[in-house]
Each structure stands twice: as structure tokens, then as C-alpha cells.
């Protein structure tokens, strides 16, 4: 990391007629391996390094980046960003919410340093997962695994005096399996993610989880029955709770979406000023509190300072069923008269930082999962999902169960084949009457931005019970 080039670019930008400038530099070591049906397809190892300049001038924003580390190139990208900012010719001038300058260094600790684990070991551990699956009794003819490792060093500097250096190792794994029994197939996808060292691998228990999935898929093929469509109770396991929290709470609470900045891609929000839903409006029952928290140690979405240099903290999005706090960067915060809550993230130095979630989850309650189920006369327990989607105002959503069971008189019965809940955000969260105390997380890659920026997040929560919802 050539910090002198960063400082040079910033000083050069300061010499122009600007309101604000920042330089974000990144040096990222990447390793990626892919196994297809027990064969290592390829192993990629590379270093990606460069920096960007973002300038606010005449109320417009310009952004330019390069992977050439020279002073001439630094001048060129500053000139370009400055020219872009002025070319916007905005009537409604962009402002940034005020923030104090920060000078700090932070990093994520590794118990077992990734740099010390050789490539052979990494490959072997994934081959072992594959071997365990193929020697299992269930027929899993198609298996794909991928492991992505990013060791990311960043240096952030702005014209307000912030200077932040950081180092974050992130490791992710993906598995996709197809089970075939009796000539029929079912599929499952699993993702794992962690900020930290190679200790992640043991913690994930990939083999156990995928063997469980294989068993479940076999049961779905051989034993599952369709649910009789109609109103019933639905107990969502943490995976389903988590995706619902992410899709129908996290996304609609992104202030850039609320203000329309993502309108032609990820869309807008059912929450908007003058509409039926705004700050203080009820959106769920009072047992529903959903937070987004980048500070969960070693989480996949972990960060201590965001990509605008703002210190991260927990955000209470829906609080006791009430719309409470949006996710903000400095631009949206200024627009809505508040302060940034450190939600600005970019996937790389060559992408603009935009408003993103980190780890979005339902806060746990005080019941056990068994207690949730015991009190259901007729319903479905949806442990996990396969198909899901939501409309671009984040109101009409659908989750299709992968592992699911019928509940009769408080007891789990046979597996249910692909139960579907297709409902609105308001109905979903209003129907929750009980929340269990067991908080679990799943790793995910959240898509947003143009060009697309897939960013690491956790989704999660405890199990929740929905009363009298339509399941088909």
C-alpha cells in the first residue's frame, strides 16, 4: 500500500474548488478454489490493488479509480472525478452530514492465520467434505464447492482529516448439492462466511451440515406430502427468519432506496414520506425487533469503520414492531436531517460506497423453539428455504420451504414438500406472536448497486411463530 500516493492525490484534490474529497485505497489478496464432483477445477491466487477518489464539488459527486500506483495517474483520476462532479449540474445540491475526523488503525484478529495454512491443506479439507458426502448412504450425484478468501488491507483518507487503516481477512465457502432418489431430484445450497482466520472452517461444520441436507432432501423425495393450502400457524427456523429480516426489513430501511437513488435497479421502498409507512409507523407486532449490527465479532458482515470513515454501531431498524431507524450514509443522512450510522460500504476500491446492510437479525425472545411448536394445533415448521424473492418495493415476498414439517397438536409430523408462504411485509411481521431465545446466523451475499456489488452479510435470528397465515 503506497500511502504517499494516496496523500498526494488528496493534497492535489484539496487544491481544487471542492466541498469534500476522499481517497480510499485497497490492497486485496484473493484465493479461490472450486471443486466440482470431487475434482479441483481450478485454483486462483491473485492480488488486486488500487485506489479511488471521490469528490463533492458544486453539489455533485464524481468518482474515479485506477490500479496504477503513480502520481501522474493519481492526478488524472482526481481531475476526472472533479470534472464528473461539476458535470452533474444538479439543482438539488448534494450535502454530506457532518462528522468528526477519525485517525485510527483497526484489524480483525485471526486465531489460525490464513496466511499460515498452505494451499494443500485448504484443498484437502474441501476434498474431505466431498468424500464424506459421496461415501454417505444418500445418492448425491452433483456437488459443487467453492472457497473464497479475501485478505483486505485498506487506507482511507479525506479532506476533513480522517486517516483510517484497516486489515480484514474474510473467508467464505459455498456448497450446492443435488440428491437423486427414486428417479427424482432435490437440491440445496449452503453458504458459510466469517471474518477472521482459518479457524472458521472447523466452526462451520460443513460436512455435518451438508450430510444433514442430503438426508433431508432424501426425506423430501421419499416421504414428504403437500400441505393442504389454507390459513395456519407457521414456525420459521432461524434461516427463514433471517432471510425475511434481510429482505423485508433491512432492504426497505436503506435510506438511499427510500430516497430513490436505487430506483432503476434494486428499486424503491414501501416506506416513504407521505405514504402509509414512515418513521414511527407500526409494521409488525411488538415482539418484533430487528437490528442491523456490523459490530458482531467475526461475523461475515463485520466492520469497525465504514467506507466513509464512520464508526460502526448497532442500528434498531424495526423496534417492537415500529419503524425506527433507517440505514444511512453521509449523503442520505444530510438529506433526512440526521447523522450517518455507518452503513456505507463498497466491495472494492473501484466501486462507490453505497448504503448496505451488515448483519441483519431478529433479536431473540425468551421461549424455546419447542415451546413455539407446542402451542400450534395446525401448522408448518419451515426450517430452511430454497426459492425466495420479494418485489422491488420490498412488500410482497415469497419463501418456499426446503426442510419443513407438519405440526399437529404441538407435535412435529411428516416432512412437507415445498410449503409456500407468499405474503406482505406487514402481514408477515404482524403475525409474529412469539420469538425463541436461540439466535443463529447464516452467511449471505447481498446484491445491490450498479455495477452489482455482492457484499458479505449475515442474516439471522431465532425461530419465530406466525399465527394464522396462508400457507400453500
Amino acid at each position: 500500500m503506497e500511502k504517499d500516493i494516496v496523500d498526494y492525490a488528496l493534497e492535489y484534490a484539496r487544491g481544487k474548488d471542492i466541498e469534500y474529497a476522499e481517497v480510499r485505497a485497497q490492497n486485496q489478496k484473493l484465493e479461490q478454489l472450486m471443486l466440482k464432483n470431487g475434482i479441483l477445477e481450478a485454483f486462483l491466487s491473485s492480488v488486486n490493488s488500487g485506489f479511488c477518489v471521490r469528490i463533492l464539488a458544486e453539489g455533485g459527486i464524481g468518482f474515479a479509480s485506477t490500479n496504477k500506483w503513480t502520481k501522474d495517474e493519481a492526478k488524472a483520476v482526481v481531475d476526472l472525478a472533479y470534472r464528473f462532479a461539476k458535470a452533474a449540474r444538479r439543482k438539488d445540491k448534494i450535502l454530506f452530514a457532518e462528522e468528526k475526523a477519525v485517525e485510527t488503525t483497526w484489524k480483525v484478529e485471526q486465531k489460525k492465520k490464513i496466511e499460515d495454512v498452505d494451499s494443500e491443506t485448504k484443498i484437502k479439507q474441501f476434498l474431505d467434505v466431498d468424500k464424506a458426502l459421496t461415501s454417505h448412504t444418500v445418492n448425491v450425484p452433483a456437488r459443487v464447492f467453492e472457497c473464497d478468501i479475501h485478505l483486505t488491507e485498506k487506507y482511507f483518507a479525506n479532506t476533513e482529516g480522517s486517516r483510517i487503516s484497516s486489515f480484514v481477512p474474510k473467508i467464505a465457502a459455498f456448497g450446492f448439492i443435488t440428491v437423486v432418489e427414486q428417479g427424482k431430484s432435490e437440491q440445496a445450497f449452503e453458504q458459510f462466511g466469517y471474518s477472521g482466520g482459518w479457524e472458521a472452517f472447523d466452526g462451520w461444520q460443513i460436512t455435518e451440515k451438508l450430510i444433514h441436507d442430503a438426508n433431508v432432501l432424501k426425506e423430501v423425495i421419499t416421504k414428504a406430502k403437500a400441505v393442504k393450502p389454507g390459513p395456519m400457524d407457521l414456525v420459521c427456523g432461524s434461516e427463514v427468519t433471517g432471510i425475511a429480516a434481510h429482505e423485508s426489513c433491512g432492504h426497505p430501511m436503506e435510506a438511499d432506496r427510500i430516497l430513490g437513488r436505487e430506483m432503476s435497479q434494486a428499486g424503491r421502498s414501501f416506506i416513504y414520506k407521505g405514504g402509509s409507512f414512515w418513521m414511527g409507523t407500526r409494521i409488525g407486532s411488538d415482539v418484533v425487533t430487528i437490528v442491523d449490527d456490523p459490530t458482531v465479532e467475526h461475523s461475515y458482515g463485520y466492520y469497525k469503520y465504514d467506507d466513509e470513515g464512520i464508526k460502526a454501531r448497532r442500528r434498531h431498524l424495526y423496534k417492537n414492531g415500529i419503524i425506527n431507524e433507517f440505514l444511512h450514509n453521509r449523503e442520505t443522512a444530510a438529506k433526512l436531517g440526521t447523522r450517518s450510522n455507518a452503513s456505507s460500504r463498497a466491495v472494492n476500491y473501484d466501486r462507490e460506497a453505497i448504503v448496505r446492510m451488515a448483519n441483519t437479525f431478529v433479536l431473540p425472545g425468551d421461549m424455546t423453539e419447542e415451546e413455539l411448536i407446542e402451542d400450534v394445533k395446525n401448522g408448518v415448521y419451515m426450517v430452511s428455504f430454497m426459492e425466495w424473492n420479494i418485489d422491488d418495493k420490498r412488500f410482497n415476498q415469497r419463501y418456499v420451504g426446503r426442510e419443513a414439517y407438519l405440526i399437529e397438536n404441538g407435535e412435529l409430523k411428516h416432512p412437507v414438500a415445498r410449503p409456500v408462504i407468499e405474503t406482505t411485509t406487514l402481514k408477515f411481521w404482524s403475525a409474529v406472536d412469539a420469538v425463541s431465545k436461540d439466535l443463529k446466523f447464516d452467511a449471505a451475499t447481498c446484491g445491490k448497486g450498479d455495477p452489482m456489488q455482492g457484499i458479505p452479510v449475515y442474516t439471522g435470528g431465532p425461530s419465530i411463530r406466525l399465527r394464522d397465515v396462508y400457507v400453500k
Partner: protein, 441 residues
């Protein structure tokens, strides 16, 4: 320019001298610009330049890859690559890289695209065009994207080539009311004939028509898909023709070669022709790209291959490498025999769907999936648009849709939008019978 090709070749020679069996190096000098706008104003303009060489080599059937930037630290990266190769595992399915010399078509890339540093006027013109259609109170957003890449490829197995690739893409979504919107795109490989106002006008037309939507009813409908929606479906089907996706069962086309997979009026091919925003004269192995008809009058004719997947399937490469995953470049649906207007006339009671997003599968082999129509959704009665609708979901099966295609328009449009209508395509209006629509309860 030839200096860059020489440097790229030098990497290949160096890797060979270090003991690699086969090597491919591809250097891309890319210049990308994007202006984003919303609320009728430009939010930001971003530029990113990338100078990167992708190196992939095989050593005793172990395949390893890296990237170098600006030709810096090539020796160090190659050394590390060999260290990884030595502890890596053999890939018995690796079929080598393409062999031989290829004669490539001359690139028709437009260098003027790279000189378009301040594209604001295009955006303002398109917004004005939308306002003329849907009124001064509209709210619009979108992007203008330009790309210019110089690509230099050298392979130890023979291929050696230079390509230039240009593209300009405009996307605009127009809201006439909070829940009434239209979306359109304008995509071209050159500035010739590029007219973003046309997209502004179309998005405005749809947005105006979409005013005062009512919640639609669940049921089974005949649907007319506009090219943007059809482009999403073409991208979905074409990605499933990648031989790699077939092997990992991310495809409805597993074990279906030679079988009927769609109605007889359907012919779909992949062809990164000169007009396409994904235009290229060679693939990532240096094989000359070409037209590949993969569905011919309803019959699945081929998967899309690189050299390795082709050997596995006892076929020839189709010029679609991806060194690991073969990919479609630009999907074309064969031209239909009726006009768009006739397509509507044939629809007694149905839906007109202009765009979609968030397509997700329950099971890729079976093809059960859903996708969420957005922007204009319209009820058609007796061939005419009767009512704007909202809040419907298409919940059906990817094979059923192919088999139920009953009409294809003569009019086609080159579309590419975000990750949804991707890869780019030449898409018509489609009439599909008996499509299941669902909604929230």
C-alpha cells in the same frame, strides 16, 4: 499496441520455460464510465480503469490461475502459481486449451465510445423525452454506461489475437405515480444509431399507461412478454445451456440433447455479433466466436462449450470459454412471423408484462421457479389493454414456459439490463400460453 501483445506473449513463454504444460495469458486494458441518475438528476459519475493480465496454466493436469496488473511482478506471481500447482490436485477432466491458429474477424469497436467523457446530455435528453410522454411530474432514474476494452490474448497452444470491445448502454425507469412505472433500455456496441431518447420515450409511454394500477388476480393467463422481460428469460435459458451448469445440475437441460424442449416455433442461438454490447471475436481460449444454434425449432441441439467440457461431451468447443465455465455471450431468439400488434390481437384474456426481476428456483433440474414482474403489468382483453395491474408474481416452470410459447414477434430489440436481463440478448415480444400467476395472501 503490439508491445502489449508482445508482453502478453512473453508471459506465456516465461511460464512455459518454467515448466507449464499449457498457458493462456489475456491482457485487458479497460476503460469504463457510468453516470447514475435518480429523481431526474445525476447522482454521480464514476470511472474505473483496469489494466490486468489473466494468466491460467496447467501443469500435470493441475489448473491454476492468477492476475497481474500493469505487468508488475510477473516473475513473482508465476513462481507462486507453480508452488500452488505443485500442491494442487490433478483435474482428470481438464481437456487442455484450444489448439491451432485462428483467423479472427476485424473488430468493429467504436473508439469514440471511450472519448465520451461527459455523457450528461444523453441523460438529460432521455429524461426530457420521458417527460414529453408521461408529463413533467415524472420521477426517473437509471444509468448510462460506456465500455472500451483492448484485449490481447496469447496461448501456448497457438491462438494469438487482439480484439477491441466497445459498448454503450442506457437504462431508464420512469415513475408517473408512486406505483406506476415503465422501464426501457438502449444498448449498442457503437455510437452509430445510439438513441437514449428512444428509451426515455418508451419508458414514459409504459409509465403513463401504468397509472392507477389495481392488485391483479391469481390465475392462469396467456401472457405477452415485452423484450426486456423476454431478455431475462432468454438469459435464464441460455445460462442453463452452459455445459458446466448442465454437469452441476443447475439446468433444466440435463440429459435432454436431441430432445424436444420447447414449442416448434422456437429457435434460440448464441452469437456475439458486431451489434452486441458483448461483442468479441474470440473467447477466453482464443477460439473464434461464432453463431451457435442451441434450440432449433424446439429441439435442443448443443450445449455451450469450452475445450474441456467439449471433450467430456464428445463435442467440439463452441467458442464460449470461460476457462472453467463456458458462458453465453449474446442470446438471439429467432425472428417470429407475426407483428407485435397481431400478438396482442391473438390474446383474448391475458397479461402484458413489461419487465421482471428476482428470478429464483426451487429446483434447477425440474425448473420450478418464480419471478416478479415489475413496471407496467397490464390486463389484456380481446387484444386490447384494459387495466394497469400490480403485485403479481409469475410462478411456473422454465420448461413449461418454453413449451408454451405460442407466438414470437417480428420485432426484436437488443436488451441488457443490470443482472436481470443478462447476458445481453436480441429479444422479441413473446406470447406464452397458460402461465401461472400468484399473489400475496
Amino acid at each position: 499496441m503490439s508491445d502489449v501483445l508482445n508482453q502478453t506473449e512473453e508471459i506465456v513463454k516465461k511460464a512455459k520455460s518454467l515448466g507449464a504444460d499449457e498457458v493462456i495469458a489475456k491482457t485487458t486494458f479497460g476503460k469504463y464510465r457510468q453516470s447514475r441518475f435518480s429523481n431526474n438528476e445525476i447522482d454521480t459519475t464514476v470511472a474505473w480503469n483496469d489494466y490486468v493480465t489473466d494468466i491460467t496454466l496447467s501443469w500435470k493436469k493441475r489448473v491454476v490461475a492468477t492476475q497481474v496488473r500493469n505487468f508488475q511482478n510477473v516473475d513473482g506471481q508465476l513462481k507462486q502459481l507453480f508452488e500452488i500447482a505443485k500442491v494442487s490436485k490433478e483435474n482428470p477432466m481438464f481437456g487442455g486449451f484450444a489448439k491451432g491458429k485462428f483467423k479472427y474477424a476485424l473488430s468493429s469497436a467504436d473508439r469514440k465510445v471511450a472519448e465520451l467523457e461527459e455523457p450528461s446530455e444523453y441523460i438529460f435528453e432521455a429524461i426530457e423525452a420521458a417527460k414529453r410522454e408521461a408529463g413533467q411530474d415524472i420521477n426517473s432514474g437509471g444509468i448510462l454506461f460506456t465500455k472500451f476494452e483492448d484485449v490481447y490474448l496469447a496461448s501456448s497452444e497457438g491462438p494469438l489475437g487482439v480484439d477491441s470491445r466497445s459498448a454503450i448502454e442506457f437504462s431508464i425507469r420512469v415513475f408517473s405515480q408512486r406505483e406506476a412505472s415503465g422501464h426501457s433500455v438502449e444498448c449498442s456496441s457503437t455510437l452509430n444509431g445510439f438513441n437514449p431518447s428512444r428509451a426515455g420515450m418508451e419508458a414514459g409511454e409504459i409509465a403513463k399507461l401504468a397509472k392507477n394500477p389495481k392488485v391483479g388476480d391469481e390465475g392462469i393467463y396467456d401472457v405477452v412478454l415485452a423484450p426486456l422481460f423476454a431478455g431475462s428469460m432468454l438469459g435464464m435459458w441460455a445460462s442453463m445451456v452452459s455445459a458446466f451448469n448442465v454437469m452441476i445440475q443447475l439446468s433444466i437441460f440435463v440429459n435432454k440433447l436431441g430432445q424436444k424442449v420447447s414449442s416448434e416455433i422456437v429457435t434460440i442461438k448464441d452469437d456475439p455479433g458486431p451489434y452486441a454490447v458483448s461483442h468479441r471475436v474470440f473467447d477466453d481460449e482464443g477460439v473464434r466466436t461464432r453463431e451457435n444454434v442451441f434450440i432449433d425449432h424446439g429441439i435442443l441441439k448443443t450445449y455451450l462449450h469450452n475445450t474441456s467440457t467439449a471433450k467430456i461431451f464428445k463435442a467440439e468447443t463452441t467458442g464460449n470459454a470461460g476457462l472453467v465455465v463456458p458462458s453465453p455471450w449474446n442470446v438471439e431468439m429467432g425472428i417470429g412471423n407475426i407483428s407485435k400488434d397481431e400478438l396482442f390481437k391473438e390474446t383474448r384474456r391475458g397479461l402484458y408484462l413489461t419487465n421482471t426481476w428476482y428470478t429464483r428456483f426451487q429446483n434447477y433440474v425440474k425448473g420450478d421457479f418464480s419471478t416478479i414482474p415489475r413496471d407496467g403489468i397490464f390486463l389484456i382483453e380481446n387484444g386490447e389493454i384494459k387495466q394497469s395491474l400490480k403485485d403479481l408474481r409469475l410462478s411456473d416452470n422454465a420448461l413449461n414456459l418454453l413449451n408454451n410459447i405460442a407466438g414470437i414477434s417480428k420485432e426484436r430489440k437488443h436488451v441488457h439490463w443490470w443482472g436481470e436481463a443478462h447476458p445481453p440478448s436480441l429479444a422479441p415480444y413473446l406470447l406464452i400460453k397458460n402461465v401461472h400467476m400468484t399473489k400475496s395472501k
